[in-house]
């Protein structure tokens, strides 16, 4: 029961994965090292930068502040899965159109975090977008273009719903 190594079964991007993991392995290291899903990035490793953002049971979390062993029986989605399903195709295109990325290191986390806000519906104010993205550092863009892209998608999606 109180062991260091554990067998886990996790549904990652819709596919069940069974692995034996060391309890100390964080979720983001598990995704990158065991499953070669390197779209989730490792930045600060203490919950400040947001580069490791992934979804667990549909909600965004810090991949560095959750252990892989805690994901046993859970549903995990990474940028690879969310991009493949085309759930955020419009948001990805808006990031390109608005130059909302340069080096791209923060982009997977930024996209997943923004999508959580967009999925809650409505057209958030620029201030609300900034507050929602406050936990995701970008050292290239100065955020203006990121906020532009998120706002443009919010308006476009609201238009489609209307």
């Amino acid at each position: 029961m109180s062991e260091r190594f554990h067998e886990i079964a996790v549904t990652v991007n819709g596919e069940e994965v069974r692995e034996r993991v060391d309890a100390r392995k964080t979720l983001v290291d598990f995704l990158r090292e065991n499953l070669a899903l390197t779209g989730s990035h490792v930045g600060c490793e203490h919950g400040v930068c947001g580069a490791c953002t992934v979804r667990v049971e549909g909600a965004v979390v810090r991949g560095c502040l959750m252990l892989a062993v805690q994901c046993d029986g859970k549903r995990v989605e990474t940028i690879e899965g969310v991009a493949d399903s085309a759930e955020i195709a419009d948001l990805q295109q808006a990031f390109v159109t608005r130059n909302a990325l340069q080096c791209g290191y923060c982009t997977p986390g930024m996209l997943l975090t923004a999508q959580e806000l967009l999925a809650s519906g409505g057209v958030p104010s620029r201030e609300a977008i900034r507050i929602h993205l406050s936990g995701n550092y970008c050292r290239c863009t100065g955020y203006q273009a990121i906020v532009d892209a998120v706002e443009a998608v919010a308006k476009a999606r609201a238009g489609e719903r209307a």
Partner: protein
Amino acid sequence: MKPAPFAYARARSLAQAVDLLAQDDARVLAGGQSLIATLNMRLSHPALLVDINEIDALGGISLRNGELMIGALTRHVEAERSAEVARHAPLIALAMPHIGHPAIRNRGTIGGSVAFADPAAELPACLLALGAQIDITGPTGSRTVVADEFFKDLFETALGARDVLTAIRVPAATTANRVGFAEFARRHGDYAIAGLAATARADGKHFADVRLAYFGVGSTPVRARHAEAALANGDVDAAVVALVQDLDPPDDVQATGAVKGHLAGVLLRRVARQLMEPRP
């Protein structure tokens, strides 16, 4: 960095969690939003993590006997969206958006934030301002500690090594209750440079039962009792002056003690304005 090795066990019940915590160097793992960061930085190296996330009895928000009870495993996001919290614990509702970032709030728990007791965290100060009660279960049974006696020193609380914080309880707000909250942080959602959570009861043109709980200005959340007395007389200027008797903020990486002392006065003026407004 990566954590040092440790064993991991998932507790299925509170009793099992308390049993597992009998092992030397065992720590409770709730939301993990502070603990796992300290593991990654090797500031903490427990032998065993006891994961309490699957103990259903530790969740839930309910109103009972004029008190709002928030289960320890309630995620910040649940409290943030809760109609019960907004109605019966408006101070906690005000503070919630300032606690971490969305991804942190999706995972972090109310009990974890209180048990970790970071001196710059919002919730411990809210509990102090509200005169909350903190329910604890340990090897000898269950007990309750009031917030004024819970926060002992830097990251030190009334919790023992084998104790599990199970819930917090706050008196449900009435129309006479006023609340105020403000903080300064470099980035929205980060730990505050300095912050203030306050409660009072409107009593004609004056206040009664003013409780001012500062955070980010000492080893624990701090009551400003001289300023409370001055504010109860309706004198905001005197309350700001009285703060020097209440607070002696040390320098830290974010600001000097002098800056924090100045900010405490600015926060008091802002929060006093909020206290003067009746609840909608």
